[in-house]
């Protein structure tokens, strides 16, 4: 019995003594760490992809806490949301960057770029690149062994087996791992663009036009047509290769149409040359919407917009407001010959719509004026309202 008691007591004593020692040691060698690091770390996505340039999320957190301005610190995975939260937590200002996505700048599939040899070495682009030109005649294009697919930790790149080219899907967080993995620097991080719409030169061939064209049907031949066509000076030509600056590009698609080899690609744009019938209750201006006293009926404006290529002035035919006023008004046709803003396809509905609405409003205002001249007692809804009030 006493043995048990002695054992228990001695063990307890050892426990207490070690606890005291451990406590003091812990106090002595305590690592002081800014508690904000944990906070920031908690806000980060914890995927440790290295896309920010730091070894992991925690390193980014440490750097963010240390840094005064948060300059050059950006988590591409978390994006603007995360960065705003971090800035808020640290009480700092941040410049939010537009979200980016990896873009594969090669369109040399089997049809466009015939195979000239067969590669049977190790399945690695880096190895193939170090050995020779690759299995096509293009010394710059995609080698198709999928180093980028292996490098991606977000499952955002797949090899398309029909084309032999990598395809980036919506899971991409723009961490840049594939950019580093590609030995031919085909992949670039570009601005995601509104509604994921992007225009880019899908070629990295720096050969002279003839050589490039020989090796691939859709190669950039450095003709410079797109450079001339671009109204925003977003395209530069260097080493026989055009490059579209995504910061300057306004997605007008003029260059796409101008490119003789279809090297410029547009992504997520709707099909072109669409006949657009604008919906009925068109942006009817409030002013004429419902007239009370004078009862100007809602003008049923029917827009018939023929979408054509950009060069031609767009016709907006405003088929008269069939106004059944007191005095009958004859049908009027207004021709709007110029819509100055760029997007002349349905794609940019919103912008275009807004512009058209303005145009229509202006026209309707004119009509209203004309009506008013003839019948001075004619009052608009708003005027009626004010009077009523």
């Amino acid at each position: 019995m006493s043995t048990i008691i002695i054992t228990i007591i001695s063990l307890c004593a050892i426990g207490v003594v070690s606890a005291v020692i451990l406590y003091f040691v812990a106090q002595k060698f305590k690592v002081e760490e800014d508690p904000r690091i944990d906070v920031v770390d908690g806000l980060l996505p914890s995927v440790n992809c290295g896309g920010c340039g730091y070894p992991g999320c925690r390193s980014l957190a440490e750097a963010a806490v240390k840094s005064d301005t948060l300059d050059g610190i950006y988590c591409p995975v978390g994006g603007a949301d995360t960065m705003n939260k971090i800035a808020e937590a640290l009480g700092r200002e941040i410049k939010v960057e537009a979200p980016k996505i990896a873009v594969v700048k090669c369109n040399g599939n089997c049809d466009n770029r015939p195979r000239t040899s067969q590669y049977d070495g190790a399945r690695s682009c880096a190895i193939q690149h170090s050995l020779y030109i690759g299995d096509t005649a293009c010394a710059y294009g995609c080698l198709g062994c999928g180093d980028c697919v292996t490098a991606c930790t977000f499952d955002a790149i797949d090899m398309d087996i029909t084309t032999g080219l990598p395809v980036v899907n919506e899971k991409c967080v723009a961490c840049g791992a594939c950019v580093k993995a590609c030995p031919r620097s085909i992949i670039e991080l570009r601005k995601k663009g509104p509604k994921d719409r992007r225009i880019f030169v899908s070629c990295v061939n720096k050969d002279k036009g003839g050589v490039a064209r020989k090796s691939c049907k859709v190669a950039c031949i450095g003709c410079g047509k797109c450079v001339k066509e671009c109204p925003f000076e977003a395209i530069t030509l260097e080493n026989n290769l055009a490059y579209i600056d995504f910061e300057k590009c306004r997605l007008c698609r003029k260059c796409v149409a101008a490119c003789p080899t279809n090297a410029i690609q547009e992504v997520n744009f709707p099909a072109r040359k669409v006949e657009v019938n604008m919906p009925k209750p068109t942006p009817t201006p409030k002013t004429v919407e419902k007239t009370t006293e004078v009862a100007i009926e809602t003008p049923k404006v029917e827009l018939d917009i023929k979408m054509t290529r950009v060069e031609e002035p767009v016709e907006v035919v405003v088929e008269t407001p069939q106004v059944s006023t007191i005095e009958e008004k004859q049908v009027e046709t207004v021709q709007v010959t110029e819509i100055e803003t760029v997007p002349s396809f349905q794609a940019e509905e919103q912008q275009a719509d807004a512009i058209k609405t303005e145009e229509i409003q202006a026209e309707l205002a004119k009509i209203t004026e004309a009506l008013r001249e003839e019948n001075p007692e004619l009052k608009t809804q708003e005027e009626v309202k004010t009077i009523n009030n």
């Binding site: 040899s117 190790a122 190895i127 050995l131 020779y132 030109i133 690759g134 005649a137």
Partner: protein
């Protein structure tokens, strides 16, 4: 018991199909394309312009820097272009294109076939003559010879080791040169010995070339300081460090040069080129190339002008067989398959090997079974399976610790792997990346 190197090595089937075939001169082509970078180091700077008329042996590009080599015209004619030309691997390289008009040699060259045994030049003059002639290592590594002959201060060359091993299967060009030009080679070796003040020269020849060993032994008996060393057949005996160990039994430390153990290694072909440069003032503008392969009609050894299209060499050997799968520049172990057979023969082309479909088929790589065969054959004492793994995961620091830079890329590991893993492919990639990392560190 024949001598050989200590560690690793393999013995692939020799397949010396063109052995014993007399050296035939390949007709001069209509046009030659002479690349400006036929050697390790900086590409040469052209000294001729488009439209210039050049003679055979005339300097057309000058060495740019210490590790570089002169390039001479191999024909006489008009320079039609100095532009980018597609090389054997499909990439564009700067080259001088000359349209051949006739074969008029520059007057300095002694065209007489008379054998000249007496070296009259001094040590410095010999090195200068070699540098002027643009001689590079003819075994395939193409390291400028004059650089090897000027050892860094504090090092003294005791031995000159001549590489007559030709351990690559199929190739026979060195063998044939040894049989036909033995006297000249001996004079070349004496010039090299004089250039580096070496008292002894050892010619290492593998035992599968018994006729060459006998032939040399008869001649060398009359010459002081030259010894013939028959070697056991073992690949990669032609490697510099392996040959030093096989012949004089000294090991070169990791990262060190052969001169650190008092040895300078030169190829048989280089020794012959040195003879021609020193005694006949003839620059390096032609070399012996083996064209061979199991499906080739008449494998043989041809004396080709530098810049001759490889397709012409193949045509001389009976044309490209129908079942050709790969055309390899060099031997089957270390050579590189080419995609453009119109590319020119260069100073380093020791052979053109045509492989048929059956031979070229590569097995599908399977998982490593940890059998350790690659480790046992690695002549540098490395662990190829580990290097491959590290290269795949891009662990460059670990690769450096595992001495990836010692790898001589002989391909024994890939040859022996029962799982057909592309070991060398990955090791070469890792080696390249590690080299870049080390370079950037400085």
């Amino acid at each position: 018991m024949l001598k050989t190197f200590k560690l690793g090595g393999i013995h692939p089937r020799e397949n010396k199909l063109s052995a014993g075939e007399k050296i035939k001169a390949l007709p001069i082509p209509e046009q030659v394309v002479i690349p400006l970078s036929q050697h390790i180091g900086a590409p040469a700077t052209p000294v001729v312009q488009k439209g210039d008329t050049v003679k055979t042996g005339q300097l057309i590009a000058q060495a740019a820097g210490f590790v570089s080599a002169n390039i001479h015209s191999s024909v006489s004619g008009t320079v039609t272009a100095i532009d980018y030309v597609t090389d054997a691997s499909g990439l564009s390289k700067l080259a001088i294109t000359i349209k051949v008009e006739e074969d008029e040699w520059i007057p300095e060259i002694d065209k007489n076939n008379k054998f000249l045994p007496n070296i009259t030049l001094s040590k410095e003059e010999i090195i200068k003559a070699i540098a002027n002639a643009g001689i590079v290592g003819m075994g395939g590594a193409t390291f400028p010879t004059q650089v090897k002959l000027t050892p860094p201060p504090g090092n003294k060359a005791e031995f000159l080791i001549i590489n007559g091993v030709e351990c690559e299967p199929y190739l026979t060009s060195d063998h044939q040169v040894m049989l036909e030009k033995a006297e000249e080679i001996i004079v070349g070796i004496q010039s090299l010995m004089k250039a580096i003040d070496a008292k002894k020269a050892i010619i290492g020849i593998e035992n599968n070339k018994e006729d060459a060993i006998e032939h040399f032994q008869q001649i060398a008996n009359r010459v002081l300081g030259i010894e013939i060393c028959p070697l056991k057949i073992q690949y990669p005996q032609g490697g510099e460090k392996q040959l030093i160990q096989a012949t004089i039994g000294r090991s070169v430390a990791s990262g060190a040069l052969p001169i650190s153990v008092g040895a300078v290694v030169q190829n048989i072909g280089t020794a012959f080129a040195v003879y021609e440069a020193v005694m006949k003032h003839k620059p390096l503008f032609e070399r012996v190339v083996t064209v061979t392969g199991k499906s080739v009609k008449s494998p043989g050894n041809y004396l080709c002008r530098i810049g001759t299209p490889i397709s012409q060499l193949i045509a001389a050997a009976g044309g490209l067989p129908d079942d050709t799968s790969k055309v390899i520049g060099g031997g089957p172990m270390m050579g590189r398959s080419m995609i453009n057979i119109d590319s020119p023969i260069t100073k380093g082309t020791s052979g053109v090997l045509i492989i048929n479909e059956k031979e070229a088929a590569r097995k599908t790589a399977r998982n490593c079974i940890r059998c350790g065969k690659c480790v046992s054959v690695c002549t540098m004492g490395l662990e190829p399976y580990l290097l491959e793994k590290l290269a795949v995961t891009n662990m460059l620091e670990s690769l450096e610790i595992e001495k990836v830079m010692d790898c001589i890329e002989c391909g024994s590991c890939s040859y022996t792997c029962p799982a057909a893993r592309p070991l060398l492919d990955y090791i070469r990639l890792g080696k390249g990346r590690t080299a870049t990392m080390i370079r950037n560190r400085k």
